[in-house]
């Protein structure tokens, strides 16, 4: 088990105020769950906390998260990830799914 926390610069999030959190994925083999939570105040950083059952891939995680924060306006969010060995491409997909759930007005 490896855990780490890091903040990434990102453009401020534009979200309907009533949506406080969104979830995508599930903690299963080769899968992960991603939760976005809207912070109390708008900001230009995305706070990330990752817990993964596969140690030794910290650099890949940080690269994937930095890339996502760069391409999506997710400043002012807290992202928590529980991972059970997902491939990077799936990490990116789950991040996008959770983001979509957060910003879409209708589910």
């Amino acid at each position: 088990m490896e855990k780490f926390t890091k903040a990434f610069p990102s453009k401020p999030l534009r979200v309907p105020k009533d949506r406080r959190w969104a979830l995508a994925g599930v903690v299963g083999s080769g899968n992960l769950e991603v939760m976005f939570e809207r912070a109390a105040r708008a900001s230009d950083t995305m706070e990330c906390h990752v817990e993964t059952s596969i140690p030794g891939f910290r650099d890949s995680w940080l690269a994937a998260l930095a890339d996502f924060a760069h391409h999506y306006p997710v400043g002012g969010t807290r992202v928590t990830i529980h991972d059970q060995g997902a491939a990077p491409v799936l990490v990116n997909l789950r991040l996008r799914q959770a983001y979509d759930h957060l910003v879409k007005t209708k589910t």
Binding site: M1, L23, V27, G28, N31, E51, S53, H82
Partner: protein
């Protein structure tokens, strides 16, 4: 949306949304509460925000319900201390408020990592179900995925007033692999899907009266079946427990030595095994009813 997906392919949250009135579901202890398993964390196994079960309040056909759905993909939907406490609390709230409670089961039973804590949690949930029934508060279990309801969750499902199943659903105590390990491959071949489903699948369970409804693998069908059963409940008394025991003894006497599950189907009045095997849930119900006459 419900028609686009097969019920057994939907996630727990999608299932809850699909069987309840649009927008009526309010989750209790949602993921941001982070009520996660302390045991898994100690063992270095990743935890889940909801500990593998979604619970909350909702409405079905305008009527208030409490509803839970297990997440089968997270440690096989197994019940740990937190997961079980969420179920217990939900049924207790149902008993207190006189609101029917529905549980969509997808679980192998107790989470072995949490041993006794998981066992106790399931026992407490069963007690809460009996509290509901003592107060005539309807309790319904839905078993609609091939993970099914096994171990403690199999027993728990039979504590409810009713069970709604699809032909994908399976219900039992020991799972097929466990039975094979104990009895040998000759006695029970767990890789024989036809055998496994013919002994524990929805169709057989409906024939034997363990399932009260057998429906299409679609949220609307599940929802309709739940709606019909939401008004009825009966207390568990010594008298009806004894009557049920007699029924089961009779069943054991009749079918206990039967090696071929087809003989059980025939014994229960199914005339055309081939046709019944290929029938959809509702078609099978019609065949079973015709056979009883």
């Amino acid at each position: 949306m419900s028609q686009l997906h097969l019920f057994h392919e939907q996630t727990a949250r999608q299932r809850v949304a699909a069987v309840t009135d649009v927008g009526s579901f309010a989750e209790l202890l949602p993921p941001p509460e982070r009520l996660t398993s302390p045991y898994l964390a100690q063992l270095g196994i990743p935890v889940s925000f909801d500990d593998g079960v979604v619970i909350g309040r909702a409405k079905i056909d305008g009527k208030k319900v409490y509803i839970a759905a297990q997440v089968g993909q997270f440690v096989g939907g197994a019940v740990g201390e937190i997961h079980g406490a969420k179920l217990t609390g939900l049924f207790k709230a149902a008993a207190r408020d006189g609101v029917p409670c529905v549980v969509i089961i997808e679980s192998g039973g107790v989470r072995l990592h949490e041993g006794s804590a998981g066992e106790i949690a399931i026992a407490e949930t069963m007690r809460a179900i009996f509290e509901c029934r003592a107060r005539k508060v309807p309790t319904i279990a839905v078993i609609a995925s091939d993970i099914g309801a096994y171990g403690g969750m199999g027993i728990l499902s039979t504590c409810c007033d009713f069970r709604v199943m699809t032909e994908h659903g399976r219900l039992g105590i020991s799972g097929p692999i466990v039975i094979e390990k104990w009895m040998g491959k000759k006695a029970y071949d767990s890789s024989n899907r036809a055998l496994v489903w013919k002994t524990s699948g929805g169709k057989t369970k409906y024939l034997l009266g363990d399932a009260d409804a057998l429906v299409h693998d679609a949220a609307d069908a599940v929802r309709e079946a739940i709606g019909k059963l939401l008004t009825k409940s009966s207390p568990v008394t010594l008298k009806n427990a004894k009557a049920r025991q007699k029924e089961l003894e009779k069943r054991l006497k009749r079918f206990g030595r039967t090696a071929d599950p087809d003989d059980v189907w025939k014994g229960m009045g199914v005339r055309d095994i081939e046709r019944a095997s290929l029938a959809s849930g509702p078609e099978f119900v019609a065949l079973a009813k015709a056979g009883r006459k």
